[in-house]
Every structure is written in structure tokens, then in C-alpha cells.
């Protein structure tokens, strides 16, 4: 005979935070694996070093606070570290990657009180710390050198690139007239971060949106917020501004739109707030790309919008049923 008096509900959807995080990891894997294929063992060492450093840090922090170690396995730390690593240059020194992962865990999350309490996206916070502290290492973009025998035609494509990202060369030369082929661009076979393959990221993102893991509003709003002004700017000055397709496919735009800005902890919870937040992120990315001192601004844009996310949430409170419209 049950002895507890409990209030409703007595059923649950079965969705758990760990399952959400595991689905995010699954969605990240194609782009990550492709990145490792392109950039070889040095990238693999970076991933392994960062993951172990981040997880050990997480474990220590949980232990110091007498929190259950089981939370380690809720995979949120793994997501954070993977996102950080995928936004780093592929041949970034592994010890600095490990340092970044520790920073993400400690200063990105644990100092605020752990999962769910942080104001800023931990991965982007760590990335900005690394970018400011190690500017040389953070802007060293190697060309892809596939470890395994490349499939036909890939080698010729790779040969066409030298050591600068698309966005970086636009920033340096001031000219957006770059000879680009669509196929390598969409697959991400060019110098750039470890996890930048647009098509594979998009597949993961659409799968997550279909599964309800992320809210499509943020992603769509972010892309609109960035690409709409980009298209206008490109129309006005096609010599200095990249084509919208190139804008979409280069840099961290898709990673930011699908995986980073959609981080539930640091984004607003209201549907309208999410659209506003996404538009803000996108517009800031556009502004930094066009007018900023850095070629790519996804990390800064997201951190800035994180800061105003509580404000957005409070001004976009939805209307309660039965209240006048």
C-alpha cells in the first residue's frame, strides 16, 4: 500500500536534461568527426586534452562543493567543452586547449553555482579569454590535410587555399572578390575552426530542431539578423562584402546559430524573447564582421546578448490567458 500523499502530476514526459545534452553531442558529432578527418591527429590530441581537462575540473568542482558526482554525467560539461574546441583553430596547442576547457568549467559555470546558474555561455567565455590571452595561437589557421586518403578531387580543392580564413582574408585585404567554389565552401574544406563544416552542422541543427532539443526561433532569427543586413551590404558594395552564401558558410555563424546561441541556460525562455535575442546576436555578428577589429564576432555577439538576456525575458513576458490584449 503506498503511504505517500502526493500532488499531481503523476506522469512525466520522460525527457531529462542528460538526454537533451546527449542529443546535442550526437548532433555535433558529424561536424566534429569531419573536422578531425580534415585536420589530423593534432586536432584529435586537442579534443582529448580539452575533454579530459574539462571533465577533471568539473569533477573536482563538484567534489569540493559536496555535490553529487552523478551530475558530471549529465553531459553538460562535455557539450561546453566540445563547443569550445570546435570553435578553436584545429592546431591550437593542446595544453592551451586544456586550459581553456578548465576556464570554461570554472569561470564559465561553476563560480556561478553550477549548471543553470551561469549568465554567460561558458564555451564562448573561454574562447574570448583564449583569444585575448593567446592572440597568435588563436589566429593560426592551418590548411586542411586529411589524414586518410582523400576522396577524388578533394586534394585539388585543398590546394587552392592558403593560410587564412575566408573572413580573415577579407578583413586583411579589404577585398571580397575571392575565387570560391561552392562545394568546398559548403563542406567547410578551407582554413577555419575545427568544427565549421556548414552542411554537417546544418544537418545536426535541423535534427535537433525536429527533435525539439533547440528552439528553431533563435537559430532562424540569428541567421536572419545577420544575413539580411549582409545581403543589403553586399548589394551596396559587392567588392568589399562577401556574398550572403559565403557569409553563411564561413566563420562560426552556423555553429553559433544552431549550437551556441541556442544554449538554454543563457538565452531567454519566452518565444518572443528568443526571436529578439536571435536577431540581436545576428545583427551584432554582422556589425563586428563589417566594422569590427576582428574578422569574426560570434563569440562577442553572443556574450553581449547573454548579458541582456534577462532584460529581454522580462520585457517579452507573454500575455496571461484572460488578460486584456
Amino acid at each position: 500500500m503506498p503511504t505517500l500523499l502526493l500532488s499531481a502530476p503523476h506522469v512525466h514526459s520522460g525527457m531529462t536534461v542528460s538526454r537533451l545534452m546527449r542529443q546535442v553531442i550526437l548532433a555535433l558529432l558529424p561536424a566534429l568527426v569531419f573536422g578531425l578527418y580534415l585536420f589530423g591527429e593534432q586536432a584529435l590530441i586537442l579534443v582529448i586534452a580539452s575533454l579530459s581537462s574539462g571533465l577533471i575540473t568539473e569533477w573536482l568542482c563538484q567534489k569540493c562543493q559536496d555535490k553529487p558526482i552523478g551530475n558530471l554525467m549529465d553531459s553538460s560539461a562535455i557539450v561546453t567543452i566540445l563547443l569550445l574546441v570546435m570553435s578553436l583553430p584545429p592546431h591550437f596547442p593542446w595544453y592551451l586547449g586544456a586550459l581553456g576547457a578548465a576556464i570554461a568549467v570554472i569561470f564559465g559555470k561553476q563560480v556561478y553555482g553550477g549548471l543553470g546558474q551561469n549568465l554567460f555561455n561558458p564555451a564562448m567565455l573561454a574562447r574570448v579569454v583564449l583569444l585575448i590571452s593567446f592572440p597568435v595561437e588563436m589566429t593560426d589557421w592551418p590548411s586542411p590535410t586529411p589524414v586518410l586518403p582523400a576522396f577524388s578531387g578533394l586534394n585539388e580543392l585543398i590546394d587552392g587555399f592558403t593560410g587564412a580564413t575566408t573572413l580573415g582574408s577579407v578583413m586583411e585585404t579589404g577585398s571580397a572578390v575571392i575565387d570560391m567554389q561552392l562545394f568546398p565552401l559548403l563542406l567547410g574544406i578551407n582554413p577555419g575552426s575545427l568544427g565549421e563544416s556548414p552542411v554537417l552542422l546544418l544537418i545536426g541543427g535541423i535534427w535537433m530542431a525536429y527533435k525539439g532539443v533547440i528552439d528553431w526561433r533563435i537559430s532562424v532569427a540569428l541567421l536572419v539578423g545577420c544575413l539580411l543586413p549582409s545581403t543589403i551590404a553586399w548589394g551596396l558594395s559587392p567588392e568589399t562584402v562577401l556574398t550572403p552564401i559565403a557569409q553563411l558558410a564561413s566563420g562560426g555563424l552556423l555553429l553559433a546559430a544552431l549550437f551556441i546561441a541556442t544554449d538554454p541556460v543563457t538565452s531567454p525562455t519566452t518565444p518572443k524573447g528568443r526571436i529578439l535575442y536571435g536577431l540581436g546576436c545576428g545583427a551584432l555578428i554582422f556589425l563586428i564582421r563589417i566594422f569590427g577589429a576582428y574578422p569574426e564576432g560570434a563569440a562577442f555577439a553572443i556574450l553581449l546578448m547573454n548579458a541582456v538576456s534577462p532584460l529581454i525575458e522580462s520585457v517579452t513576458k507573454q500575455r496571461t490567458y484572460g488578460e486584456s490584449k
Binding site: 500523499l5 500532488s7 503523476h10 506522469v11 536534461v17 549548471l115
Partner: protein
């Protein structure tokens, strides 16, 4: 889902579990030996018993009369009143209620006392519904006649009949619509007359095709009764959401559905109204769903009000597993009980015996503010923010956030990936606020009484002083009496 327009805001799609109990016909329970009829089976004040211990009663005889808008209670079978005493009830908290214990005759007397059921006016029609002791069977247990009387001076445009039964597991309304559709539709016709509505819409979720077909067939000749199919979407059956889905209007905050020209009633209540007006039968029976993974044979039982839950379980072949939770009502909004020796009441729609596998996990993880609760709230509230305020004991701020609008529908807690007890926080807060309000009223009363007392004592003191002064003055003026010694001897004082 993406392309169909949503009829209501938010909501969730729990696993219906309707197949467990909707395959079999309604089973009619053999008359039980004893019935326990609670005097408080409706919202409002308890009914007043009109019989004495030891009295013989006939089936259909009124044993308690509603007072102040509450509902009458009738004896389901003939028998003897054994006692009128406290007995454990299937209410939240597992408390006790005053119940009339009826020992049914071993050979049931088939002489039913019929209600007087002829009427000439709307008011008289409603009186018959009141006499029959009919309450809303959809969960609110509000006396039907009281609700109908409020329509006498209001314009009712649409009568909405709620056949959604959106709670998982429950199928009693489904079966009533299938098997008693004539009574249901008959009741709708009476209700149309009672509230003078222009048309009636019966709304049924699309997971009940048999019930829908039965209703469509039964209403084929009624021009003013429409049967509408609604998508299966919890909480479609909540009155406010039901109105929103069918009439595209929202009931303004603090108003009733009748204020927007809509009158809502549940399908099973319609059948009860038909039985009262057509045959003069009082409300003494109801269909109850018994379901859940721990029950041997889930089914719907038509049982007299006051039957012990344990007897219903025996009819279902007992439990095949030990039940981890026994829930009265649906799994989304019902409450648990710990004693199967409590009787069913007029508002008991279902009793669920859930096994361990069907239950949610009891451990929760930190909120990641994923916003699923916000998206799921049919009332447009922010459950995560409200729960945090309540966790920090700031009930006032939670009320400002809209706690009073909360339906306690359970959607937020159902969907929460962190398994946070969101709805449980709101259940706690609403009951706790009610209690605090009572304590506050009490404190105010105490304060007022204290002020009155202080004033009275002051006035008494002034009066005494004045009297003393007057006496003194009289003495001084007269001067005839010898002056009393100012000092009274100590011994004398002690003796007095």
C-alpha cells in the same frame, strides 16, 4: 502539428493510455453491502443530514439536503442508516469527512422514490436538477443547478458540452458517450432549454472515434446541436481552454464563462440531467474508470455513489502488482490516496493504480531554463520563475506573477526535463495562501477585539472614577455621615 493552427496555447501530449480501459463495456456493479455517503461531495458547504441513525430508507430517498447552494444527497439503495460519523475520504490529504453509513438491504427493494419531474418554466426545470442533487462530474463538482440559476439573468449564446476527457487513462466519459449517447443528447436538449442558449456544441477529442460517431448519429435530427472534433491535446478539457478552442474567446480574468455568453457542462452530467428530468431519478450512480498498470483488469464500472474503492478493485480482479501510487482522478491533476477503504463520490471520475514504471522519477536536477514549461503553460505564465519565487517563500511575488491564474493542470511539471516539481510548488502555494489568508483574517479579528476591549476597559475605568468622584462630592456636600477611616484594617480586607 507545425501546419495545423493551434486551438489552445501551450499544452502537452501525454501518452493517453486509454486502450487499457476503453475496450470493454461498462460493468454494472452488484449492490454493495455497505455504502458511505459523504455529506460534502460538492464544492461549497456540506449538506445537512435529514435522517437519523436507525432510520429505514428507500432507494432514491433524500438523506441530506443541500444548504446555501450545495447539493442534495440521495440513498442509492434501500437500507438502514447505521451511523453518521467521520470516515476516511478520497480527498487530498486523506482526511476524514462526515459520512452517512448505509447498510443496504440484502434483497433490494425495487420501489424507487421518483422525483417530481414536471415543470412549466425554466426556473422549475432548474429546481428539478437541484432536487436531483446533480453536480458537475468533470472535476469541479460544482452543483449544476447553482450554475444554471446564474444564467437566469444572463444572455447565454452557446452551450458547450465537454466530452474531451483529455486526462490520460480516464475513459468513463468516452464510454458514457458511446453507450448512453441518447441520454447525453437528451440532457443537452434539456440544458438548452434550461439556459436558453441558441445552440449547443459537443466537443470531443479525436482519440474517441466511436463516441464521436455515436454522438453524430444521435444528433442527426437536431439543428441546434453540433458535434465538433477537437485535436487530442492536453489540457483541452479544461473549461477555459475548451471555450478558447470552440468559441475563440477567452474568459477574462476574474470572470466566469457565463459572462462571455457560454455555459459549459460535462457529458456525464448531461446524462444525469436527462435521467432526472425524464425519469425522475436522483444522482445516485456514476461511471468510474479503474485503470493503471498495477490493476489486473482495467475497466469502467457503473457504481452507486458511496461504494468503497476496495470493492471496485475486487470487481477488477484485484491488483497484479503492488501499486506504487493510487491516484484519484486523472494522472495530470488527481491526488494520491493511501487508504482504499474510502468511498467514491459524485465527482470521482477515476481511480488509477500506477506501478513503478509509469511514475515520474522523484529526483530533480537544476533548472537549465530551457523554457519548455513556458511553452507548455496553457495560461501563458512563467512556471520556472514562479516556482523559484515559491521555493524562496515569496508567495506574494508569485501571486503577482500570476499564480492565481494557474490551473494546476500539470503541463509544466510533465514536460520539465529537470523533473522539477513545478506544479507541486503551485499546489503547495495555492493551498498555503488560502491558509495564510485565514490566519490573517483571524489576526485582524483578534486585533479588532483587542482594541474594543481596551476601549471598553478605559470607559469602565472612567465611569468608575466618575462614580467615585460623584460619591466623594456627595459626601463632601452632605457631610452628615461620619468620615470613614481612610485605612481599612488589613484583616478585614482579607476576609472580604
Amino acid at each position: 502539428m507545425l501546419f495545423s493552427k493551434r486551438l489552445i496555447k501551450g499544452g502537452v501530449h501525454p501518452n493517453g493510455q486509454k486502450k487499457l480501459s476503453n475496450n470493454n463495456a461498462i460493468v454494472k456493479l452488484a449492490p454493495p453491502k455497505r455504502l458511505f455517503l459523504s455529506l460534502k461531495q460538492h464544492s461549497g458547504a456540506p449538506a445537512k443530514a435529514v435522517i437519523q441513525v436507525g432510520d429505514k430508507v428507500t432507494a432514491g430517498q433524500m438523506i441530506a439536503t443541500g444548504q446555501g447552494g450545495s447539493a442534495n444527497i440521495h440513498a442509492p439503495y434501500s437500507g438502514t442508516i447505521e451511523s453518521i460519523a467521520e470516515h476516511v475520504a478520497a480527498i487530498p490529504g486523506g482526511g476524514k469527512q462526515t459520512m452517512v453509513q448505509l447498510l443496504c438491504d440484502s434483497e433490494p427493494n425495487n420501489n424507487y422514490i421518483k422525483l417530481h419531474h414536471h415543470y412549466q418554466s425554466r426556473a422549475e426545470l432548474i429546481d428539478i436538477i437541484a432536487d436531483a442533487g446533480i453536480v458537475g462530474m468533470g472535476g469541479a463538482i460544482f452543483p449544476a443547478a447553482t450554475k444554471l440559476r446564474s444564467t437566469l439573468n444572463k444572455e447565454i449564446d452557446t452551450l458547450l458540452i465537454n466530452g474531451c476527457e483529455c486526462e490520460p487513462y480516464l475513459t468513463c466519459d468516452d464510454l458514457v458517450m458511446q453507450e448512453q449517447c441518447v441520454q447525453v443528447v437528451g440532457g443537452v436538449r434539456y440544458l438548452l432549454e434550461a439556459c436558453a442558449a441558441k445552440k449547443a456544441i459537443i466537443g470531443v477529442e479525436d482519440n474517441k472515434p466511436l463516441a464521436l460517431q455515436a454522438l453524430i448519429d444521435a444528433t442527426s435530427e437536431d439543428d441546434n446541436i453540433e458535434v465538433q472534433t477537437l485535436p487530442t491535446h492536453y489540457p483541452m478539457g479544461s473549461a477555459k481552454q475548451f471555450i478558447q478552442a470552440l468559441c475563440k474567446v477567452e474568459v477574462p480574468k476574474g470572470k466566469r464563462s457565463t459572462d462571455v455568453g457560454v455555459f459549459v457542462q460535462n457529458v456525464a452530467t448531461c446524462a444525469a440531467i436527462y435521467n432526472a428530468l425524464r425519469f425522475g431519478n436522483a444522482m445516485t450512480q456514476r461511471v468510474v474508470t479503474l485503470s493503471g498498470g498495477a490493476l489486473e483488469q482495467p475497466m469502467n464500472i457503473e457504481a452507486p455513489i458511496g461504494t468503497l474503492i476496495s470493492e471496485l478493485v475486487a470487481t477488477c480482479g484485484g491488483l497484479k502488482l503492488s501499486a506504487a501510487r493510487i491516484v484519484v482522478g486523472g494522472p495530470m491533476m488527481g491526488h494520491t490516496i493511501t487508504n482504499m477503504h474510502s468511498p467514491i463520490m459524485k465527482g470521482t471520475s477515476g481511480i488509477l493504480f500506477l506501478n513503478e514504471d509509469e511514475l515520474p522519477q522523484t529526483t530533480s536536477s537544476p533548472c537549465v531554463s530551457c523554457g519548455r514549461c513556458v511553452a507548455a503553460c496553457p495560461m501563458g505564465l512563467l512556471p520556472n520563475a514562479m516556482a523559484e519565487l515559491i521555493a524562496n517563500d515569496d508567495l506574494e511575488a508569485a501571486q503577482k506573477q500570476g499564480l492565481n491564474s494557474c490551473l494546476l493542470c500539470g503541463s509544466c511539471a510533465f514536460i520539465c526535463p529537470a523533473s522539477l516539481p513545478l506544479t507541486q510548488y503551485f499546489s503547495y502555494a495555492t493551498t498555503e495562501i488560502g491558509r495564510q489568508k485565514k490566519m490573517q483574517q483571524k489576526a485582524q479579528l483578534a486585533r479588532r477585539l483587542n482594541q474594543q476591549r481596551t476601549r471598553r476597559l478605559e470607559q469602565e475605568a472612567i465611569k468608575k472614577a466618575a462614580e467615585k468622584a460623584a460619591k466623594k462630592a456627595a459626601r463632601a456636600a452632605g457631610g452628615t455621615r461620619p468620615q470613614r477611616s481612610p485605612r481599612v484594617p488589613k484583616t478585614a480586607k482579607q476576609e472580604s
